[in-house]
C-alpha cells in the first residue's frame, strides 16, 4: 500500500514539475473559480486536522502531538 501511495505521489510531483511555461492572467478564469480554491481547501483541512489528530498518528505538522489537551 505504501508503495502505491509513493507511486501516486511521484506521478503528481512529476506532473507539476518542469511546467514553468505559465498561465497568463487572462487565462485564469477557471483556476480562480470558487470550486478550484486550494486556499479554502487548505483552511478546511486545518480545521479538520483538529479532530483527525486525535484519531490518526500520522497527522503531525503545525501543532504538537498528544498530551493533556482535551481534544487529544
Amino acid at each position: 500500500m505504501r508503495r502505491r501511495m509513493a507511486v501516486v505521489t511521484l506521478i503528481l510531483a512529476l506532473a507539476s514539475a518542469g511546467c514553468a511555461g505559465g498561465v497568463k492572467h487572462y487565462q485564469r478564469e477557471f483556476l480562480a473559480d470558487r470550486i478550484m480554491d486550494q486556499a479554502a481547501t487548505a483552511r478546511e483541512r486545518g480545521t479538520e486536522r483538529h479532530w483527525l489528530d486525535t484519531r490518526e498518528g500520522a497527522a503531525g505538522g503545525a501543532l504538537g502531538a498528544g498530551g493533556g489537551c482535551a481534544c487529544n
Partner: protein
C-alpha cells in the same frame, strides 16, 4: 488570564487600525459538531475577523471554543477500559464516583495574524501567534510564512516555519503524576504551487516536524506485566511528510481534486493518505461536493496490544490507539450556497453545510456535522 490579555490587546489593535481601514472587513462564523460511536461529542464554535489595515497589510483574529462532552466511564477507576477512557479525549478520573459522571471540558483558542501582501510585488509574508488553553494544558505557537510568485503568478513557492511550546499541568487523577510537564515543537513546511494549464493546477510539498519533551497522555494507563502503569513514550519524535495535489476544472462546471500524502517518523509509524473531492455547480448558485478519503498506517515500534513485562518494549509502553496499525475511510457531502447577485446586503455571503462519516478498521466510527457562514461587509 494570559488568554484574556492577549485577546484584549489583539482586539484593541484591530479597532485602532480599523479607523484607517483600506478595505472591507470579512467575518467568518462556523459551528462544528463531532460525535462518535463511543458517545463522545465535541462542539466547536469558531469566529474569524479579517480587517485590511492598508493596501498591503491585513490583520486577522480567530477565536475557537471547544466544548468536549464525555459520557460516564464503563469500568472501575484503574481498570484498563476505564482510565484508558476509550475516548477521543483525555479525562482525569479522581475517584469511582467521579468516573460515573459525565465530564465536560472546554478549550479556548485564539490566533492573531498580521499579513503583508503588496498590490504590486511578487513577495508576501505573514506572522501569527496562537494560544490554546484548557484546565490542564497551555499551548503557544509563533509562526512565520513567506511566499514568492513567478511567471505572472503561475508558479508560487511558500515556506512556513513554526515554533510551539506546550505546558501540561495534569489535573488530580487516580494514580497519576501531577508534576507539570512541557514539550517544544519546531515545524518547517515548503510548498510549491504550479498552474499547468488554464484548467489544471498542481501542488507539491514537504513537511518536517521535530517534537521534544513529554508526549504521553498523562491520564492514560497501560496494562503491562500484570500491572496497570502510566504510559511512557520516547521524548523525541521526528515526523516527515511529502504531499501532492492536483486540481482539474471541467467545462461541465465541475472540478476534481486529488491529494496524496506520505508520512514517516522515527517511532516507526508510516502512513499513506489519499483524498479526493468532486465539486459540481447545481443551478446558478448551489455547489455540491462529494468526498472520499482513505488512510492507512503502520504501528509504532513500541506499540503492543498486551505487554508481557512492566518495562514494555525497551522501557516504553503505550495504550495510544493512534500508534497502532489500522486503516480508515471517510465519506462526505458538502453543500455551499453563495449569495452573490441576490440582495446587495447579502452580496458575498456564503453558507456551508457539511456531513461526513468516518470509520476505521478497529470498529470506531464518527459523524462530523458542520455549518458555517462567511460574510464580507
Amino acid at each position: 488570564m494570559q488568554l484574556r490579555r492577549v485577546a484584549g490587546a489583539a482586539v484593541a489593535g484591530l479597532l485602532a487600525v480599523a479607523v484607517d481601514a483600506a478595505g472591507e472587513p470579512i467575518v467568518n462564523a462556523n459551528v462544528h459538531t463531532f460525535s462518535d460511536s463511543r458517545k463522545n461529542r465535541v462542539d466547536s464554535y469558531l469566529l474569524e475577523y479579517q480587517q485590511p489595515a492598508s493596501r498591503s497589510w491585513t490583520l486577522q483574529l480567530r477565536g475557537v471554543l471547544d466544548r468536549v462532552h464525555l459520557p460516564p466511564l464503563p469500568g472501575l477507576p484503574g481498570s484498563r477500559q476505564n482510565v484508558d477512557a476509550i475516548t477521543a479525549a483525555s479525562r482525569p478520573v479522581q475517584n469511582a464516583a467521579a468516573s460515573k459522571d459525565s465530564y465536560l471540558k472546554q478549550r479556548k483558542e485564539i490566533t492573531g495574524t498580521v499579513a503583508w501582501r503588496p498590490a504590486a510585488g511578487a513577495l508576501r509574508g505573514a506572522g501569527s501567534y496562537y494560544l490554546s488553553h484548557e484546565s490542564d494544558f497551555l499551548g503557544q505557537q509563533a509562526s512565520f510564512d513567506v511566499a514568492r510568485d513567478w511567471n505572472q503568478g503561475s508558479t508560487s513557492l511558500a515556506l512556513r516555519t513554526a515554533y510551539g511550546y506546550d505546558r501540561i499541568t495534569p489535573d488530580e487523577h487516580t494514580g497519576g503524576d501531577p508534576a507539570a510537564k512541557s514539550r517544544n515543537t519546531a515545524d518547517l513546511t515548503l510548498t510549491c504551487t504550479q498552474s499547468l494549464t488554464p484548467c489544471l493546477q498542481a501542488q507539491i510539498g514537504a513537511e518536517v516536524t521535530s517534537i521534544r519533551g513529554f508526549q504521553n497522555n498523562p491520564y492514560r494507563r497501560v496494562f503491562a506485566g500484570g500491572d496497570i502503569l502510566p504510559e511512557h513514550h520516547p521524548e523525541d519524535r521526528l515526523r516527515r511528510a511529502v504531499f501532492a495535489q492536483l486540481d482539474r476544472y471541467f467545462t461541465t462546471r465541475s472540478s476534481v481534486s486529488l491529494n496524496a500524502r506520505w508520512y514517516g517518523d522515527d517511532w516507526g509509524v508510516q502512513a499513506g493518505t489519499f483524498d479526493t473531492r468532486f465539486n459540481q455547480y447545481v443551478g446558478e448558485r448551489f455547489i455540491v461536493r462529494y468526498r472520499y478519503r482513505y488512510h492507512t498506517q503502520s504501528g509504532a515500534w513500541f506499540y503492543r496490544d498486551l505487554y508481557d513485562v512492566g518495562d514494555g518494549v525497551d522501557g516504553y509502553r503505550t495504550a495510544d490507539y493512534k500508534l497502532r496499525r489500522f486503516d480508515s475511510n471517510l465519506f462526505g457531502v458538502k453543500v455551499s450556497v453563495p449569495f452573490e447577485g441576490t440582495y446587495p446586503w447579502l452580496d458575498g455571503m456564503v453558507l456551508d453545510v457539511k456531513y461526513e462519516r468516518y470509520f476505521d478498521s478497529r470498529s470506531f466510527a464518527a459523524n462530523v456535522l458542520e455549518a458555517g457562514c462567511s460574510w464580507p461587509f
